[in-house]
Structures are given as C-alpha cells and as structure tokens.
C-alpha cells in the first residue's frame, strides 16, 4: 500500500516548506556560522538552551539559525530533538557551592565574604545605540579576538575571579550563622523531579516547581513576577538579593556499573538567592526567609524572577493559585503552541456552534425560556419526590 498522499493538503504543505527552505538559504547575506551565534549572540544562545531544557551550545545555535531567530521555535527544535534521544542515566544533583563564579554580586551588603565581582554584564554600560563605523568595529573585533588567542589569561571575562578563592562564602551562610535567616535548603527531596519524565500538577514537590521555572519562557516568568508585584493578584513583594552568581557548574553522573561519580563537563548557570522580609500575621518576623533561582546559561532576569516566585509560593502554602500559574502557564512551547493551534481549521466546531445558535432561535427554545420567566405555581407531591430519590442508610 505504501504512503498514500491525500490530495490538496500535502502539496500545499510541501510548497510552504519549500518557501521556508529557500528563503532560509537564499538570503542576500553570507552563511551564518554557528560560532557567530554561540560567541556573538551569547544571551540568545543561553536563553534558547535554558528554555529548551538542553545544554548543547552548538545544537542551540543550529536551532536558532534554523528558526531564523525565533526563540520559542528554536527552543522547540531543541526539545523535540531531545525527545528522540534515549535517557541513559540520571545526573547526580549538582552542588551549587561548586559553581565557579564568572560574576558575583551581593546587593544586600557592602562588605561581603568574598568579592563583589561584576564580571561580564550589560548592567552598567550606557544604553546608547552604537552607531560607529562597521569597518572599524570589524577590525577591532578581529584584533581583540587575536589578542585573546595569544594571551587567554588576560581575558577579563573568563578570568575575573582568578585571583580570588574560587567558591566565595554565601551571604546567606553568614545570615544563617547569626540566625537571621531560615534554612530552606532541604534534604527530603534528594532525587529532584525530572519534569521531562512526569506531568507536573499542583501539589508536586519544590524541585519540580523550580525545574518548571528554570525551563520557563523568560518573558512569561518575568511577566508573572511583575504581574504579582503590580497586578491584581499581588502575591509578591520585592525581595533583596543576597546573591547573584553566574559561573560554571560541574556536572556528574554515576557510573552505571561501579556507581562512582564521573565528571561529564561543565555548564554555565545563573544562581540567585533572594532574601524575603516576612510580614504575614502567622509568619516569623524575627528572621528572613529565602527564595532560590537557578537557570541554565546567563539569564539573571529569569533567575531573579524565579527566586522571588519561589519564596512567594512557599509563603502562600499553595493556596492562591500562584502555584498553578507557575506550573501550568509559563512554558513557552505550551502557551505559544496552544495559541497557534487557533490557526488550524475549525470548521467542524464552528458548524456545531452555528447549529446551536439556530437551535436557540427555534420557537421551542423561545417558549422554554419564556415559560421559565413566569413559571406557574408547581403542582407537587413532595412524598412522590422523596420516593424518587431513596435516602438509604450510609453504612461505612
């Protein structure tokens, strides 16, 4: 029998695909190399890996190029690719204390244990659109790249923390030592939930909620955060950031036969600890509480939103619907996929809708409605009604 193409649809889709393919290749520009994406559009690449839930810089770059820069589409490509790969083992939960910082700031304190390490960030550069000469910029970039290749140790971004101890103590450790902050690090969830393996729903553990946020669409999470600051829901107040770190995190697996940890490599991650000043009537005001955020790549916005939402979720005991919002509405693929499905044909459903509109216009329906408005006094025999529903004994 083989493959049977149905007339119409298949041809139309093939033609649309060909148009996409041609315009992808046929742009009036040189071919986009993957390193241009991984090295020059770093934030974009990191974001796609974070939302795609897969640390694979080269694959992410391919996805971005194939998606022509559409971030959600690129994340979708990564995730769909991951679906085809077998899951051979589970990672050993990474220890965030092993994160080697490329950047580390502590807004809450002036003098902190370890350095305030600004590192590579856009935060402090003026938002002035660079209108400089293209040729000069190209030359400057080439020179800088060549210089870095000759003396990698001079690279200020890569070696920002080289002179300091690699793992500065956390501000929170200090606060906890002085009993000013509660300890919300827990050991009752030693095997974090892998959200690619289960369907999350309210009531699922904190590790799953954190994972959902780590994989959430950045804009969605930032919006949910802001909406809860300024919008009608009002579950959040602003936190003080105890720690914002971006750095390299070692990733290990257990050897399948020996059970020994084996280092797979490093990924870059952004970690945030948010300090919350409790003010609820039933809360302990004598101590600070803490929210936690950790996302793949360099994405401070998302990690901060995550940390603030984490503590908000803890505070409202899952009573408010915020948990459902976080779990069910922040995934970029889910939201955009459902939105885009509205473009599919809906003429069966629409025909059914028209039919009901017409049914409401029939005389019968009109009479029913009219009858309701001036309902006659009922003729009822209560005894008969009671008999209709036997109220038997409950026997447990």
């Amino acid at each position: 029998m083989g493959y049977v193409a149905a007339r119409g649809g298949t041809e139309a889709i093939a033609a649309a695909e060909e148009l996409v393919r041609r315009s992808r290749l046929n742009a009036d520009a040189s071919w986009l190399e993957l390193d241009q994406l991984t090295e020059r559009l770093r934030y974009l690449n990191d974001r796609v890996m974070g939302e795609g839930g897969l640390w694979a810089p080269q694959l992410a770059a391919r996805a971005i190029r194939q998606a022509e820069g559409d971030v959600i589409e690129a994340a979708h490509l990564l995730r769909a690719h991951r679906s085809t790969l077998p899951r051979l083992c589970e990672l050993i939960p990474a220890d965030a204390d092993e994160l080697r910082p490329l950047r580390r700031i502590v807004p809450a304190f002036r003098e902190v244990p370890g350095p305030q390490l600004l590192g590579r960030t856009l935060d402090y550069t003026g938002r002035l659109l660079d209108l400089g000469d293209e040729d000069q910029a190209r030359a400057a970039a080439a020179a800088a790249t060549a210089a870095a290749a000759r003396h990698p140790e001079d690279d200020p971004a890569e070696n920002a923390g080289a002179t300091e101890p690699p793992f500065p103590e956390r501000l929170l450790d200090v606060l906890r030592r002085t009993d000013l902050a509660v300890d919300r690090r827990r050991d009752d969830d030693p095997e974090p939930t892998d959200i690619s393996q289960v369907a999350v729903r309210p009531g699922i553990g904190r590790s799953a909620v954190l994972s959902v946020m780590a994989r959430a669409e950045t804009g969605a999470l930032v919006n949910l955060w802001y909406r809860n600051i300024l919008g009608p829901d009002n579950h959040l107040h602003e936190v003080t950031l105890g720690e914002v770190r971006h750095g390299e995190l070692p990733i290990r697996v257990r050897h399948p036969r020996t059970g020994n940890p084996v280092l797979l490599g490093h990924l870059r991650a952004t970690e945030v600890e948010a300090i919350e000043d409790l003010d609820g009537a039933d809360e302990d005001r004598t101590r600070f509480d803490v929210g936690y955020g950790l996302v793949a790549g360099h994405n401070e916005r998302k990690a901060i939103a995550m940390a603030n939402l984490d503590i908000a979720l803890h505070r409202d005991h899952s009573d408010s619907g915020l948990e459902q919002s976080v779990l069910m509405t922040t995934d970029g693929l889910d939201a955009s996929g459902f939105l885009e499905h509205l473009k599919l044909p809906h003429y069966v459903t629409f025909r059914s809708m028209i039919e009901r509109k017409q049914a409401m216009r029939t005389d019968r329906a009109r009479n029913e409605r009219k009858g309701r408005r001036h309902h006659p006094a009922p003729v009822v025999t209560p005894a008969a009604e009671q008999a209709a529903v036997p109220a038997g004994e409950v026997t447990p």
């Binding site: 309902h375 006094a377 009922p378 209709a388 529903v389 026997t395």
Partner: protein, 278 residues
C-alpha cells in the same frame, strides 16, 4: 430513641498546642489561650444531643467557641478530639471523623445541611436561585429537569422567594432574600439535621424577624433536628427548646430554653440574659 445528632467530648485547639494545654484555660481562668504554649483552646469537652424534630440553641459571645463547634460538626474544620454521630449514618454507630473526606463532604448533600451567616459561604452567587437548589438535587442524583424545576419552585414558595426571581442570579438578591435561598438549598433533600450559624445576624431588624418566622415555621413543619448557633437570646428563644451556654470554649450551663431564660444559674448566663432583657 437514637438522637439525630450526638456530639461527645468535642475539642478544638488551634496553634502549636496539644491537649496538655487545656489546663489553665476555660471560664475558670477567663482565657482560651494556653498560658504554657500559646495554643488556643477554642472548644473543649463539648457534648450534647439533638433529637428528631428538636432544636438546640448554642449561645455565647463571639469567641466563646460556638461557631468552632458548628464548623467541627459540619466538617469545615477538623476537631482535635471528640466524636460526632448522626442517626442517619450507620444508625449513629459511626463517628463521622472516621469517614473519608469524600464521604464526609457527601453527607452535606442530604444528611447534614448548614445555613451560614454569610450566604456567600452556602451559595454560589453567580448561579440562579433555582440553580443553587439544583446543585443539591443533582448531587443527590436527580436527573429530571422538570422535576428539579418543580422541587426548586416548591422550595422557593416555601421559603418566600418570589417565583419570578427564581431564575435570577443570587448576587442580584438582597441579604434577606439570599438567606431564604440558602434555606431552600439547605432543605432541598430533606436532611434530618440542619445547622444554622447566626442565620439572621447582619440583616435589618424587620427582615431578620421575617426570616426567623420562616425558620421557626420550617423547623416545626419539617421535623428536622436543628442546632442554632447565635449570640442573640431573642433568636434562641424563638427557635429552640433547649440551649447550651458557651463561654471560653466550654459549656457552662445547659437546660430548657424558657427555664434558662427565666432562671439562669451560671453567672455568665445571668449576664447574657441580663443583657438580652436589659
């Protein structure tokens, strides 16, 4: 005869406390907060029975524990200790607290109805008056639209809700009318026991009086067992035959309503009666 409702040794402690904290609380100490742990002994050692067709009053000031007792009986809150039995469940042989939450909730359909002070607690204000009654009926398995309409109309008539308002959303109703709808809904499946929590508090005096008249007539006519929780002796006097007085989480006096009003024994009862008569 098996009482329709029987409550034995009911107690409810909020906060960090344990039963050890009961010591040092109650009327004798003039406090409900445990001096040792800060636990709140909202109700303790509360026992009573209500026979079929009988109405029992529970009176006390706010904070006396009377509403806590009611919420523990109907399942809105889980008591710390004690038992609750209904004649309609296993002939009174089963403590409701041993039932699953699902079974406990299901009792509200036709065994144990509640009328709250705030109609928003007992009604879905977005639904029509008839729809609110229909919810109870469909929960009990009614599947005939015409019969549901008839039963809802009958209940509207019985609770003095004008029939031409039956299909209007309850949120458009006045407070008194909402309370009538709540009564209609509570009585939809002829439950043998009804709990009424401050059913007329917050209503204008004239509206309250007519709702009270209605409740009294319904209780007499339907023969249900009722527990009426109120801070107001006028309500208790009008609706109940027996009464228990609660103070700082304990029952301090119990008796026939007219006798207790005539000759209160406990100083707290005397104060309450005095205030009501004053």
């Amino acid at each position: 005869m098996t009482p329709a409702l029987r409550v034995d040794g009911l107690g409810k402690i909020y906060g960090p406390g344990t039963t050890a904290d009961v010591a040092g609380t109650g009327p004798g100490f003039n406090r409900v907060v445990s001096p040792t742990s800060g636990g709140i002994v909202a109700a303790w050692d509360v026992s009573f029975e209500v026979g079929p067709g009988e109405a029992l009053g529970v009176i006390g000031e706010s904070g006396s524990g009377k509403s806590t007792v009611m919420r523990c009986i109907c399942g809105d809150e889980e008591p710390t200790t004690g038992s609750i039995r209904l004649a309609s469940v296993d002939g009174g042989g089963t403590d409701l607290r041993t039932l699953s939450p699902a079974r406990r909730r299901a009792l509200r359909v036709d065994r144990l109805a509640v009328v709250y002070q705030d109609p928003a607690e007992g009604l879905d204000l977005r639904l029509s008056a008839g729809g609110n009654v229909a919810e109870r009926l469909t929960a009990a398995g009614w599947r005939n639209f015409g019969r549901i309409r008839e039963r809802a109309s009958e209940l509207m008539l019985r609770t003095d809700v004008p029939l031409d308002r039956m299909d209007d959303p309850v949120r458009e109703f006045s407070g008194g009318m909402r309370q009538r709808v709540q009564l209609a809904k509570a009585l939809a499946n002829n439950p043998p026991v009804v709990l009424l929590d401050e059913p007329t508090t917050g209503l204008d005096a004239s509206v309250a009086a007519s709702v009270l008249d209605l409740i009294r007539d319904l209780l007499e006519e339907l023969g249900v067992a009722a527990v009426v929780v109120s801070h107001d002796f006028a309500v208790i006097e009008m609706l109940t035959q027996r009464v228990v007085v609660m103070h700082h989480g304990r029952i301090v006096e119990a008796g026939l309503t007219d006798q207790l009003l005539e000759d209160p024994q406990h100083p707290y009862s005397q104060r309450l009666v005095g205030a009501a008569r004053g």
